[in-house]
Symmetry: C2
Subunit: 464 residues, 2 copies
């Protein structure tokens, strides 16, 4: 059998190809949240299906009611004797937002040389095309070195992760056999710092809500009626302002029911980490309101929160308009911890709003089902194999961390299929994901692929 060094040598010798193919993928504007823009999604799915088909996989694009998934299985002749491994990534990206805020075009990747690495600027450079490309390239190099994969491999690439994964439950339900595995690797998470790898063992649940407040009237002249008729912007502002109390706690009745206190030993570890919180240093926290009694890291990883993501009402400019608008709306999202049921949180939020709607006004809610928080035991042998593989590449133990982010898939795999998921990845909070000038770098691309090679080696050694 070939040595891990052979795999690493192949990773080294194909560096240029690895990068140039990633740049091809980054050129495809696979934005998932705008229903009117599906061409980029179709193109990215097709590109990935072609690549995987050339690497020893039987790969296909699976249509859904939303965006398609790419599903690939290693051919029997290509599959080694190890465990059944599933790798998940998502090929869709966030919208570019305000294009004026980009110094680099979002869908024409630009390489910028830095002293130790080359930065890659593009929407999706970090979240998450480089992530899926890392495990795909590691698997390709493993197979080229060993003649086969380290076990039966399934690759699942989603196309609507950034838009709420609405089609995923039906897909999983219809493909239980295709998805059967001993462990799933979800590659869409971040490192602790540029030199410190991490495995995320706690993920928050996520619940989006849109609330639209309607007055009993159409748009009115604010000079004639402003002093006397309902103003949805004013009502909505008061409602949103009431959602938090003066200690930064969510003021919705029962919101903290069944929320466990963060365990003392975990708090101790996390408080130690705070001293070196690169992740937090990448943003200016002045003006932020942190729940009283918690450090920033505890708030992000361990406490349920509520964020306002968007607000719209009345005159959007450019000129002035003396309008009393007929309606105003806000978009918000809850980040949930273990113990919170998204359906119950949604009901409590809606009751909170309903109780504050003045007579004659009307409220309209929109939102998906949301996802629960999930946690992974640090004792799990796959978690331990991953941690050892990471340590081999980075020469330092991987941190077992929490995340403020949410991956609905992890909850679905847990609940629907009983599959454990290990969440890892090489994103940095300074990568500007979901923001203008998103970027990644060639050093992490290379070390990420090498990390996967080491992880595959540890998993293979451990189990077979």
């Amino acid at each position: 059998m070939a040595d891990i060094e052979d795999v690493l040598a192949r990773i080294e010798s194909s560096k240029d190809q690895t990068l140039s193919e990633l740049l091809e993928l980054l050129k495809i504007p696979s934005i998932s949240s705008d229903p009117s823009d599906v061409a980029g999604i179709a193109e990215a799915a097709s590109w990935l299906q072609r690549k995987l088909s050339g690497m020893g996989f039987e790969a296909r694009v699976v249509a859904t009611e939303g965006h398609p998934l790419v599903l690939a299985h290693s051919l029997d002749a290509e599959s080694g004797s190890g465990p059944r491994l599933l790798f998940y990534g998502h090929y869709d990206v966030q919208p570019e937002g305000d294009e004026d805020q980009w110094s680099h075009p979002p869908f024409t990747p630009e390489l910028v040389e830095q002293p130790d690495l080359t930065r890659i600027y593009a929407r999706g450079a970090s979240d998450s095309k480089s992530q899926l490309w890392s495990f795909i390239e590691a698997l390709r190099c493993w197979r080229e070195a060993h003649g086969r994969f380290p076990g039966r491999i399934t690759i699942l690439l989603e196309g609507e992760e950034e838009a709420g994964s609405a089609s995923l439950p039906a897909f999983i339900d219809a493909h239980r056999g295709d998805l059967a595995c001993d462990i799933a690797f979800i590659c869409d998470s971040d490192m602790w710092s540029p030199t410190q790898p991490a495995v995320t063992t706690q993920l928050k649940g996520l619940l989006h809500e849109k609330v639209t407040l309607h007055s009993p009237n159409p748009d009115l002249h604010s000079g004639y009626f402003g002093a006397v008729a309902a103003n949805p912007i004013r009502i909505l502002s008061e409602l949103l302002a009431a959602l938090h109390d003066h200690e930064g706690r969510v003021a919705i009745d029962g919101f903290y029911d069944n929320v466990p206190e963060i365990p003392a030993d975990l708090r101790q570890q996390w408080q130690a980490l705070s001293r070196d919180a690169h992740q937090l240093a990448s943003a200016d926290l002045r003006g932020g309101i942190i729940e009283r009694g918690y450090t920033p890291l505890e708030a992000i990883w361990g406490r349920p929160t509520l964020d306002l993501n968007g607000i719209t009402g009345g005159n959007q400019g450019p000129g002035e308009r003396s309008v009393l608008p007929a309606s105003a709306s806000a978009r918000l999202s809850f980040r949930l911890v273990a113990g919170q049921d998204p359906a119950i949180v949604r009901n409590r939020f809606r009751s909170f709003v309903q109780a504050r709607i003045p007579e004659g006004c009307r409220v309209e809610f929109e939102g998906g089902a949301g996802s629960r928080a999930v946690a992974m035991s640090p004792e799990n042998p796959f978690v331990q194999a991953v941690a050892r593989g990471m340590e081999r590449e980075w020469s330092t133990p991987a941190i077992l961390k929490g995340s403020g982010g949410s991956i609905p898939l992890v909850e679905m795999f847990n609940e629907m299929l009983g599959i454990d998921c290990i969440v890892l990845g090489f994103i940095l909070s300074s990568d500007a994901i979901h923001a203008p000038n998103e970027h990644y770098d060639t050093l992490r691309l290379h070390k990420g692929i090498r990390s996967w090679a080491h992880i595959l080696d540890e998993v293979h050694t451990d189990r077979s």
Copy 2:
């Protein structure tokens, strides 16, 4: 000299022409608030200049740094022996807003037959193209009947009334001689009811402000940073919610300084009028918050108010986006009463906001100079002549009323030229001005022109 009956006969015989020409004017999309759309403004100005030139006026389009005005003087040979009269109207219109809310196209006027009248649906049908067309047609018919106008006539038609009249001060300053007159008639106001004429003797001042709140960060991922970093939507909501107290009063320190109580006799008249408040009945007031201690009419006509006209921040849809936005903004407007200086109110508002901006965040303000409230004495002989003329046409005394609306020109004429202004018009609050499906009707068009004929007759009789 011809009799008033000759003027009225000409008005009657040219009804069809009057309407068809108004429809021509309504077809022109003369929206003033969007700087990118100036073709409609230019076309409307040119159309009016041509019409006036054919009616015994020397008319010209006067360019400004903003939109042009149309300025017309009666030729010496056409001018009668009466007082110098100035007529003001505005030919610009509000943007159409959400076109989906219109059942009739905004710039393709539609006539809809009703039992007693024909409705004219179009943006500007009521506010204010029918208003300026009414006095123009009355003057044309007067001149055709009498051989000359009832005095030296100046017509001033503005093209940016709906956008804040930014160019008006410089124009007035540069055309003091052109604008000299004994009285100015501002035709942009409303009736008390469909059968009850009114002259507006109190107008509120108006001050627009746009406030943009910036966090110290670019857009961030709300999962990573929502729990800890500043959220401009949350800060802005709390700020807007704090602008009013629980009694519906504006909570800005000093806002009510120098605001006189509404005089007891006026309150008594207005409370009597409330029993028959058609204007108020055209909107559903449920959910509205009226300053405690005042009736709706008192709040609209006599009390200073603050309205939220627009709000924008973060994700505007259609899909979900886990964003913590870099900024959020709100547009608001103050309606001021006598005693309030817009510059002082602006400073107090800005201080109120500045005092509530968290450390590290930044606020940006935009806004024009605003206008003061103005009041006209009921004893003024021109006011009395107008009231008599109105009564002749409508067979009921004109109400001397207040208005929640604002006309910056009135303040400028007062302050800059020492000219008194009489504000009147035939708009109804049910005309949906500034809103979808704005409309007017042929009955008010006809009776409005006849009203002007009677007013000209009273003014002419009174003064010459």
